[in-house]
Amino acid sequence: MGEMEELRKEMENLKDQITAARKTFQDSTLQEAAAGVTVVGRVQLKTRKTLRGHLAKIYAMHWGTDSTLCVSASQDGKLIVWDTITTNKVNAIPLKSSWVMTCAYAPSGNLVACGGLDNMCSIYNLKGKDGNVKVMRELAAHTGYLSCCRFLSDTEIITSSGDCTCVLWDIETGTQKTVFAGHQGDAMSLGVSPDFKFFISGACDFTAKLWDIREAECRQTFGGHESDINAIGFFPNGNAVITGSDDATCKLYDLRADQELLTYQDSSIMCGVTSLAPSKSGRLLLAGHDDFNVNIWDMLKAERVGVLAGHDNRVSCIGVSTDGMACCTGSWDSFLKIWN
């Protein structure tokens, strides 16, 4: 038996052991725990604002921590910072590369970042002295497209890439601090834990991974999806992970039980999940799909309790504001909508 064959056998053996270990801790399901809970009544959110201004598909959006400003990225080659209450454009930043796939707002509100097919993460300072928004740093080292980025602070940012790795960067020096390797397919999305100690990544190898940022290691790997994971996020208390996949389902994995608790699926939903966001309490899960809709799920009962229909093309991104007051959707139809 060749070396690779032996290693493959060992891998299968170890995976079986992990599956068995997880089973021994599976003494109940979330359905059982929530048996006494009444399912949420029909949720009907209304479009309160439509943010108009992009001239092409919107690929990403991210709320600022003040729950008022948000940033969006479009393949019209612009990053726009919006005041969602007045719908005014606070900044319209022209990009060097229009093939943008992700954007992020720093928790401080001072910086925004974006990247895409240029394989780079570009950092922009919104609070420069002369009032002009300029590129502050270009973080280049990935050998594949930038699929997602999230700031830890004004000095550190984490990126995920089509080169299968995630990277922690030092923004001031523009260098890689840590390369998180392990995914066997494009890393498509990432989320940072509420305490900033961990991050999760979803990939085209159908798995989600939990990474310890400072120890620089992968702690846990979650499987079960039957296709690429496009979207990932922490459950609000930081102890569980929500994933959305091309297999048209979302899953909830608990970090302490190290296993899946629930799958959100419906035979009538056949389109892949592009984006997701839980509501502030975690009771609702909003998931954007390729079929132009956002499905709203009761997270405890795994029942679909609403639909946001308002876009004329794929919903590519979604986010719930920090104070939970509203949800923002971005679409290939070039509009962003604010709902509550």
Binding site: M4, L7, E10, M11, L14, K15, Q17, I18, A21, F25, Q26, D27, S28, T29, L30, E32, A33, A34, V37, V40, V43, R48, K49, I85, T143, C164, T165, Q176, K177, T178, V179, F180, A181, G182, A216, E217, C218, R219, Q220, P236, N237, N239, A240, D254, A257, D258, Q259, L261, S279, K280, S281, G282, R283, L284, L286, L300, M325, A326, I338, N340
Partner: protein
């Protein structure tokens, strides 16, 4: 794993990394799902009242309320 260059790794290197990763993951201390489910349910129910998307909000308290329109007296 500070900074590594993925392109420098052979297939065998990657397979060894995967095996070592699995060996680490086996050792994880796990909780019973019953305990985890109860915690999730408790967390949700504690926050539901303040969850606007779930509970809704009065029109006059909604910062995103639609402006304008005519008022008919």
């Amino acid at each position: 794993m500070p900074v590594i260059n993925m392109d420098d790794l052979t297939d065998k290197d990657k397979a060894l990394m995967a095996v070592n990763q699995l060996k680490t993951e086996i050792k994880l201390e796990r909780w019973l799902t019953s305990k985890c489910c109860e915690e999730i349910k408790a967390y949700i129910q504690a926050g539901e009242e303040e969850d606007i998307l779930f509970k809704g909000i009065a029109e006059d308290k909604n910062p995103f309320k639609e402006k304008g329109g005519c008022v008919i007296f």
